[in-house]
Amino acid sequence: MLTPPKQIIYPLIKAPEFNAEFLGWLTVVFLVLAVMYFLGTFLIRNKLGSQGALTKDKKMEFSPMISEFLFYEDSNTKEEKKTYLNLKVQIRESIKNNFDRNVLTEVLLDLRKDLSGQSQDVLMALYKDLGLHITAYDKLSSRRWQIISSGILELTAMEVHEGYTLIIKFINHRQSTIRKQAERAVVSLKEEGICYFLDNTKYRISEWQQLKLLDILRHKSDFVPPQFSLWLTSTNVDVVLFSLRLIKYFKQNNAEKSIITLLKHKKKVIQLEAIDCIKEFYFINAIPTLKLVYPKAGNDVKIAILDAIGEIGTKNELPFLQHWHSKERNFNIKSKVIGTINKIDPESILPTSNIKKTTFFTSDIEEDIEPTIIVQQEEEIEQLATQLDETEQVNKPVELISEEKEFFEHEELTIPEVKDVEEITPETHDMDEEILVLDDLMPMETVGNELTEMDNQLIDLPQENTEEPIEDLKENIETELVLDFLPLVIDEPQEEPVLLNEGIDEPDFDFALEDSPLQQEELTVQQVMNKSLLDFKEIDWVALTEDVSELPMQETTDAIVFNNTSRANVLSLSADFLDDEELETMVLLENIADMGDNRELPVLQNILNNSASTIIVDRANELIQKFSYEMPRPAELFAPDNALSESVFAEIFHLSDIETQFILLDEIKKIGDEKEMALLQSLINGNNEALAKKAKEVLQVVTDNLAKTEKRGDDEMENNLFQLDFELELESATKSNSANSLKEGGSTLFDHLCAMSSSFYTKKNG
């Protein structure tokens, strides 16, 4: 057999050799161990089971006995008393056996938990009477900690006060379970137990243990708490802490200095508890210490201190708080500082985060008012200059100029908001300086300044005009326009000026300045008012400065119209009173002017005949002329630009909702004619697709109907050619009658409305 050269042959890996006999024995051992384990488990389980069953039986055996003992009464019958005595003997025999004694103890402890009232007292008395507490004492000397613990528990549950002296030695036991059990027992069994415990305990007292001890003390009847402040000097931190909590719980507020001193304690928990006590007892003397401790305290302590300062502090603490408000970096603490400041001085710090500036809300108003006012001011100045130029009023009477000045001065007086805020001094207006520097006022101030500047210039204008040539007027105006605002100083109270804005309430300075949002609203309203006040387009200064009687009638009328239309802005240059009757007549005439038409011509004629007053006569003549001129002509009545030429559906259509509009379109479809074309066309061109579609459909129907009617008319014309004369005469007569009636003055607004409704009715009913 050939093998390849240089081939390496590896031997097979051999399995280790085992001794089969040894393996067999090992298997046997494990099997035995398994059997032993299962057997042991089985036996132990059985033993426990049988012991449990035995215990249960024993419990059931003891149960009626205990019941007999518990509910034994002296009033029982002899038979019952005999049974009771027998049971007592029997039970005493039983407890000689350890198992029975343990079971009986267990039963009594169980029942101790389930029973209350007199039965419980009897149960505890029975426990001692049967001498079971002796067994518990023995348990205390055991070397096993669980037995000691159960002994302490038994004695505590059955309130064996005699066991106190035996238990106190376990207070500092190294085993925590025994120690805790002993602590509870000591506190529970005797009133002085808490003092002994606080004096002697060296170990930590857990939070849970403190709660349990407090619970025991809480439920102790007739418990007189000692002065827990005595243990504030303890070297055990937990004793100090527990004492502070007990002080707080039992409201012992006679340890002020100690508690304040504890603010400087190294332990944070003690500091926190002391702060709680200070807050609880309202120790205001602690405030300086609280402030002293604050800078180097931890965050939790800082928050607790701020809380305490908020609770017991006064406004004297505000500088301290404001200092830390500016200095503190931690968000939580800074929030707490703000909260404390606001708690001491409510709303001293207002929300600033995510608050929009006032300009955001007022910018639109500014945009609306500011340019308009400026433009109007410029126009007025131009107009005034032009008028002066045209009429050569350089030598205008001084009285009139002074009147104008008064007018502007008064106008200045009636818009106090436009003054620069800085110029309104506290002396003159009793304002709060803090409010004056509010940024929120600034946007409105800007508008106000501009207004004031303009007004100031206007005030100065007439004085300049009296001394300078008219050619320099415009230059002066321009020069004056760039001047800074000068405050209007009134040294003496002026005589009651003629109010341009008579009837408009004087703004309340103090009120406006006390509340900035309200002030701004007031400013806005005032600016709008000022805007209207500065609108002088309607004022005919020429007419006002000349004698009214010398003016042509139209100009006089204009002047009167001015007086009426701008009643709110009445400028009365001279006293010209009408008597009551004339005044009433004038009011009537003005009402007629506002609302009347040509039907009032007889009334006007009557007034004209009866009145002797020149003003009334002039006004009545004017109105007669006006209404006579406005009498409707038949040709105009149905002119294309007249409303009557429109569809009767148009007005109601535009006032209706969509659903009604569809109904109206259906009506138009039935009775519409060429008048509805424009309306339908506008709807087709409109945005609403559904309406447009419907309108298109209706338009088609109306067009078809019109075509049919026209065709039918032509056919009738052809068929009744010889009957036309009569019909035509009748129609022409009707038309002429209608025209005559219109000419005779019957075409009033009411007639128009009647005609519209009749037309609509006719259309609807065919």
Partner: protein, 121 residues
């Protein structure tokens, strides 16, 4: 012959004690240690009053009240024994028609008075 009391409680010791006290008070007492027994008993017998613990195996006190009031349509007075602080169970028991309740630890004498009061209503 005394009134018939059904005592339903799984705690044998306490039940025995209460049984003893009620018997001494002149009542005939039947003790059932779980809900199933109570249900069986109620289908055969009609006690004058039921004293039941809320926590029982198989059939809780709440279910027992529901069974008595809605299934058996009985107006038998029911007194509930509950642990202290078990407010929700007590409220549920009253909603379903329990007449009274007593909290653990129980005073047997107090229970006796309550039973007498319910039976005398």
């Amino acid at each position: 012959m005394g009134k018939h009391v059904l005592l339903a409680d799984d705690d044998q010791l306490l039940a025995s004690l209460l049984n003893f006290r009620l018997k001494k008070g002149g009542y005939e007492v039947h003790h059932s240690s779980n809900g199933r027994e109570v249900k069986e008993y109620l289908t055969k017998q009609r006690p004058d009053i039921i004293v039941s613990d809320i926590m029982m195996p198989y059939f809780s006190g709440i279910e027992l009240i529901d069974f008595v009031r809605n299934d058996l349509k009985l107006s038998t007075p029911i007194i509930i024994i509950s642990s202290a602080g078990n407010e929700q169970n007590v409220l549920s028991a009253f909603e379903l028609g329990a007449n009274d309740f007593i909290t653990k630890p129980v005073s047997p004498t107090e229970l006796l008075v309550r039973v007498a009061r319910e039976l005398n209503k």
